[in-house]
């Protein structure tokens, strides 16, 4: 019997067909995965996360003030100056000062004066944000850097 007539374990046709099918599958799958990377932004198009709030003298001890347009409360006490985010840790509504602390309009979470959860579905305390002094003497709040609650910037 000549070589050509020997039955092959996988016929050449089947092999080529299967290989072609697999190759197409891999190519399409790869393209799909590559395409799916597109909607995931590499850098988030946010306004600058750090912002100036003013000179230390503008925040006398014992006052608190909401920074306009920033959803951040600046708290000034004997220990120094701190910034608390007013974005509710539940689902992102903006809390407002209420008796004894803050309350959220969306699902009724309540927080004490230092941002600790006292009631409602919020899973954690309001985040405290880093405050530092820029070289020009202005205070800067860094919205992307969270610090442990109770951290005051000593002016």
């Amino acid at each position: 019997m000549s070589d050509r007539l020997k039955p092959e374990p996988v016929s050449r046709r089947d092999f080529l067909g299967t290989a072609g099918l697999l190759a197409s599958g891999v190519a399409l799958l790869g393209s799909a995965v590559a395409a799916m990377r597109l909607p995931r932004p590499r850098a988030l198009p946010e306004q600058g996360r750090a912002f100036r709030i003013g000179r230390p003298e503008e925040f006398p001890s014992g006052t608190s003030e909401i920074v306009p347009g920033r959803n951040v409360l600046v708290l000034s006490g004997p220990k120094g100056i701190a910034a608390i985010s007013l974005v509710c840790t539940h689902l992102g509504c903006i809390v407002s000062p209420a008796s004894g602390g803050f309350s959220c309009p969306c699902h009724g979470s309540r927080f004490d004066q230092l941002g600790g959860v006292t009631q409602g579905p919020a899973p954690r305390a309001l985040p405290w944000l880093a405050v530092r002094k820029a070289p020009n003497g202005m205070l800067v709040v860094d919205g992307s850097q969270e610090v442990p609650p109770g951290t005051f910037h000593v002016a």
């Binding site: 909607p39 995931r40 932004p41 988030l44 198009p45 946010e46 347009g69 959803n71 539940h90 689902l91 992102g92 509504c93 903006i94 309350s103 959220c104 309009p105 969306c106 699902h107 009724g108 959860v117 006292t118 009631q119 409602g120 579905p121 899973p123 954690r124």
Partner: protein, 514 residues
């Protein structure tokens, strides 16, 4: 030359007839053959079978609900296209363009109102349609897959309305989507509690994918616009084609066995529809009716069937007209809401999503992760699996599977109502874990809250029914009834009984003025 002119004149004279014939090839007489040709000679109409069982046309068979949903979708597509003529998907322009549509554009306000009401009607009709299909046991005998397709259609419907809510860029949409996208991020509740968010953050990933940013802004508006006008509608059309095609291929609407026998026994001829004469040539449409059911329609005596053209199409037109009329009438009397321009510093109070999400919002007010993701995902999974876990075939096509089913449905409705009311009343009156144990671990609250308890009790009840009755169908009825009643009650509470700060109020008149 003369011959050519004569032929030309004759062709010209026959123009209307030849054009008509080139488009519609069938003859114009109302014969059974021509009726069949009308349907299967048309690429759009042939989603229908050429002949349908006469029971299909009865009101109680479908209550027209699927068709109402489809009609509303059609109305939404047309009015949506019209709105797109003026709408500008940019955070600077969107709100003003909607204002223009409402105040300046000719009949703009009317078209916008119709778009809004058709959306409400579509969601309601889809939910009721699902209930009708479920209680008729029409998810059995080859219809399992179409039920799953239906679940996906339900999710697409809700997705369409969710994405559309943001487009006006007013306070209502802005805060509803802020809340919604943070629900997508809520797996963080768990990863935070476990302290692993730093390197494993599926919640953050989902939110970024949805918003393209960490807050609702231009990126989010672009994405939602894209989803709302292209991705979801195209997916919807494709899936609707599958859905309708499968209704036909699964053997037409599910019907009780006793009506399937030959010669129409058991099917009272209360109508005056002209069915085919007994001596009709079976073969002409016999082949066209080959279906995948256990008892193919070829087996049916033509006596039981009527031609789809014109009877089914006429019924569909009627349902469409009624739906359209309802949208138009509502739009004449009520305006779609448009709040003030989106403001990232001051949330709406109360910030409410569209009504069909308010049941979820109620659950979310205990735990975002459980109420917003886990419970809904489990519900959809549970609903989707129903036809695969209940494979009893006995009572398919009978509403409530007869008397025992009706009893179970009533009992389950009572049980579900009691627990849903408790799930709201207990926290409202006595507070929840955090009020009792201020230092309680977040993990405990995630796991034990009114939403998870309610889900647990509903599942347990269904298992008890299943165990006591020995019937998967009755177990399924218990589960679905619980789901439906819980959904209705929580939706009602979220819509009508929740006011500012999500506090409980018996009526809107008691809301504090601010």
């Amino acid at each position: 030359m003369k011959r050519g002119l004569a032929a030309f004149a004759a062709n010209l004279r026959n123009l209307p007839a030849t054009v008509r014939q080139s488009v519609i090839r069938r003859g114009s007489s109302g014969s059974a053959r021509n009726s069949s040709l009308a349907v299967f000679g048309n690429v759009f109409l042939h989603l229908h079978a050429t002949r349908i069982h006469r029971r299909t046309l009865r009101f109680t068979a479908t209550m027209g609900l699927g068709m109402i949903a489809a009609s509303a979708f059609g109305i939404l597509c047309v009015t949506g296209l019209l709105l797109m003529v003026y709408y500008k998907p940019s955070t600077d322009l969107a709100y003003d363009s909607i204002k223009d549509i409402v105040t300046v554009v000719p009949s703009g306000r009317f078209v916008r109102n119709i778009h809004r009401f058709a959306a409400h009607i579509m969601v309601a009709a889809v939910l009721l349609h699902m209930a009708r299909v479920f209680f008729a046991g029409a998810y059995k005998r080859g219809r399992e897959f179409n039920w799953v397709v239906g679940i996906v259609l339900l999710i697409l419907t809700l997705g369409l309305s969710f994405t559309g809510y943001l487009l006006p860029w007013d306070q209502l949409g802005y805060w509803a989507i802020t809340v919604g996208s943070n629900i997508a991020a809520s797996p963080r509740e768990l990863t935070d509690a476990l302290g692993i968010t730093g390197w494993f953050d599926p919640g953050g990933f989902q939110k970024e994918l949805l918003l393209g940013a960490s807050e609702v802004g231009q990126e989010a508006l672009t994405r939602f616009y894209l989803l709302h006008v292209v991705v979801l509608p195209v997916a919807m059309v494709a899936l609707l084609a599958v859905h309708f095609w499968r209704v036909r291929k699964d053997g037409g609407l599910a019907r009780p066995d006793e009506i399937r026998t030959r010669s129409g026994e058991g099917a009272p001829a209360t109508d005056s529809l002209p069915t085919a004469p007994a001596e009709a040539p079976h073969k002409t449409y016999g082949l066209m009716c080959v279906v995948a059911d256990r008892r193919p329609a070829t087996d049916l005596d033509p006596v039981d069937t009527v031609p789809s053209w014109p009877f089914l199409l006429r019924a569909e037109l009627l349902v469409f007209m009624v739906t359209f009329f309802a949208c138009v009438a509502l739009s004449l009397f009520w305006d779609a809401p448009l709040k003030t321009l989106a403001n990232a510093a001051i949330p709406e109070n109360p910030a409410k999503a569209p009504w069909y999400f308010l049941g979820l919002q109620e659950l979310v007010s205990y735990s975002a992760l459980m109420g917003g993701l886990v419970v809904p995902a489990l519900s959809m999974l549970g609903l989707g699996l129903i036809p695969y876990l209940d494979r009893e075939t006995a009572d398919a096509g009978h509403y409530f599977a007869g008397r025992p089913g009706r009893r179970i449905a009533w009992l389950s409705a009572l049980f579900a109502a009691l627990f849903a009311v408790l799930a709201v009343a207990v926290p409202v009156n006595f507070g929840w874990l955090r009020n009792w144990f201020p230092d309680i671990d977040q993990l405990v609250i995630i796991l034990v809250n009114p939403g998870t308890l309610l889900t647990f009790f509903y599942a347990a009840w269904s298992l008890i029914v299943l165990w006591r009755s020995g019937s998967t169908r009755l177990g399924a009825i218990a589960l679905f009834t619980c789901f439906l009643v819980g959904f209705v009650i929580l939706t009602y509470v979220g819509t009508s009984l929740r006011g500012p700060n999500w506090d409980f109020y018996w009526s809107q008149a008691d809301w504090p003025v601010h």
